[in-house]
């Protein structure tokens, strides 16, 4: 790992690009789901978009239906073919880039992140550090219990058992009277905890995030750190919303990575082309002392 001065990168607008994508999908999902509910009540205020139930545009419904689809040729109640299509798309994206659905598309993830910005303002450095590491680390595996339970119950019952507990469903349906108390409570807890912990539901409870997180183990494009140019400033560690230690990784294979790219050289990392999203092995960088005495990375 090289130390000392390196090529400084210019300021980039990468975080605004991701934020724009998040806003796009949040608005799209909210409009589609709201239009469906309003149209059921004879109101056509949002008829400029195609209405669909939240279940119809939730890829997780498609994922948990795979078993029934394969074994019985039918879908779980309330799940439609569109969910299966979205599930396949989410898997394809995850195989390529990791859980970008979590980091770029999921409206609940985005909302937690936006609330987190408020929490960061309120608590400064204490934000996202309230839970001690020894407690936090095992808690991260809770979402696999959640995934196992949801998958098992869906398979044996043929019903969307997670709906009653799903804060994502509650978020867009809280005003309809169709949301179970448990779902509302979990949504409320998620939103409040987001002020203290970054993406609490994603980290500790989301079954879909757990499923997509498995793709971090073998995704094609991964977050990679070029050790030869890294200055060990740990800016990547501090930037990671999922509290992953990027600064000691070669290739980030942590199951919690959401491919938000906050750690990369386009955002937090101060050194150009040192933390990147890439496929293949990082090329070894060589350093050359220039006549001016400055050190420049040549690649």
């Amino acid at each position: 790992m090289a130390s000392g001065a390196s090529t400084k990168k210019p300021k980039k607008a990468s975080r605004w690009i991701r934020r724009a994508v998040q806003i796009l999908f949040f608005a799209l999902v909210a409009t589609i789901a709201t239009n469906e509910i309003l149209s059921e009540r004879g109101i056509t205020a949002l008829s400029f978009v195609e209405g669909a139930s939240l279940h119809a545009i939730c890829p997780f419904g498609g994922v948990v239906s795979f078993w029934q689809l394969v074994t019985a040729g039918t879908l779980v109640k309330k799940v439609h073919e569109s969910s299966v299509a979205l599930g396949v798309i989410a898997i394809a994206l995850a195989a390529l880039f990791g859980p970008v659905v979590c980091g770029w598309i999921c409206p609940l993830g985005s909302l937690q992140e936006w609330l987190g910005a408020l929490g960061r303002t309120l608590f400064k450095k204490r934000y996202n550090a309230f839970i001690p590491g020894r407690v936090d680390k095992p808690l991260r595996y809770l979402r696999y219990l959640s995934l196992a339970w949801v998958s098992y119950m869906t398979i044996v019952s043929g019903k969307l058992v997670f709906q009653d507990y799903d804060p994502y469903f509650a978020l867009f349906n809280f005003w309809t009277g169709e949301v179970a108390i448990a779902g509302l409570v979990i949504l409320g807890l998620t939103l409040v905890l987001s002020l203290f912990v970054e993406r609490p539901f994603c980290k500790y409870a989301c079954p879909f995030g757990a499923f997509l997180g498995l793709f971090n183990l073998f995704r094609v494009f991964s977050v990679k750190r070029v050790a030869s140019t890294c200055i060990s400033c740990k800016a990547c560690d501090r930037a990671c919303p999922m509290s992953i230690t990027v600064s000691t990784s070669g290739t980030v294979r942590d199951h919690q990575c959401i491919s938000c790219l906050k750690c990369t050289s386009e955002d937090a990392c101060p050194v150009e082309a040192t933390v990147v999203l890439a496929a293949g092995k990082p090329r070894v960088a060589t350093t050359t002392l220039q006549a001016t005495g400055s050190e420049e990375v040549s690649r």
């Binding site: 569109s82 299509a85 994206l93 880039f97 044996v156 990369t264």
Partner: protein, 260 residues
């Protein structure tokens, strides 16, 4: 090393997502609503006929007319309340909310009641939910059907002084249904229509079957696949395995009845 920066990744994410949706639309797989065509009975005399058990809350009265031949306007009127006249184009899922403040505690009129109503109207068999009741308008409409057994319908009347715990489930009796009596089709586990301590109903679990003396092998042989865990209901298992609950019920009830 092939590097992907933020902007190309954003474009890829949006393109794959919308492109995938467009592709699934192009191949005809994109479907965000149910077809409103209920599953059909697969075996026996009823093979090919629509199954009332598959009616969903998203069905409208018009969908029911199309699928089962139950007149939409009359049905909507039959389920209307004094305060609210239902539109035939409305979803039947509105019933639960509509009747919640009207019914005594422990009783419910929702999609299950519509399934029961359609079953009684058409004579197609159905395992009624426990404590099923029907609104007076629906019972009146059913009583006008030729051959309908008023006494059998009586069990679905909303009790004026309802107990906290509703009456046990009663399968739709063949005698109550004119079409069934006319066609001679038999109902699953009808008998007297009264649930006994060892009657298989919607909530009967595999654990109940074992407690009644059946072995796992017997159950597996009767249903045609490995049974689920003890806590799983036979109905849920049937749904998950693409089977008709009514068919499994007949086979299992015969085994249970054969036990001393």
């Amino acid at each position: 090393m092939i590097r992907v920066k933020t902007l190309p990744l954003a474009i890829a994410v949006v393109a794959v997502m919308f492109g995938g949706v467009a592709l699934s639309k192009a191949v005809g797989y994109w479907n965000t609503t149910s077809t409103k065509e209920p599953a059909k009975f697969k075996n026996g005399e009823l093979a090919g006929l629509p199954n009332p058990a598959d009616i969903r809350g998203s069905y409208t009265w018009l969908d029911l007319e199309k699928a089962f031949g139950v007149p939409a306007a009359e049905s909507a009127r039959a389920f209307s309340t004094a305060d609210r006249a239902l539109d035939p184009a409305e979803r039947v899922s509105v019933l639960e909310e509509l009747y919640l403040p009207i019914l005594p505690p422990g009783l419910e009129i929702g999609t299950g009641a519509v399934r029961l109503f359609v079953s009684l109207y058409t004579g197609l068999p159905l395992e009624a939910e426990e404590g099923s009741v029907l609104p007076d308008g629906a019972l009146e409409l059913l009583s006008q059907r030729p051959g309908m057994d008023d006494e059998a319908l009586g069990r679905y009347v909303i009790p004026s002084n309802a107990p906290a715990a509703p009456a046990p489930a009663a399968p739709v009796p063949a005698a109550a249904s004119p079409a069934a009596s006319q066609s001679g089709t038999s109902q699953a586990g009808t008998g007297s229509g009264q649930a006994t301590a060892r009657s298989i109903v919607g909530k009967t679990t595999f654990g109940d079957l074992y407690d009644w003396g059946l072995t796992e092998d017997q159950v597996a042989a009767a249903i045609g696949y490995a049974p689920g865990p003890r806590s799983q209901s036979v109905r849920d298992s049937a749904t998950a395995n693409g089977k008709e609950f009514s068919e499994l019920k007949i086979a299992l009830q015969a085994l249970v009845d054969a036990r001393p």
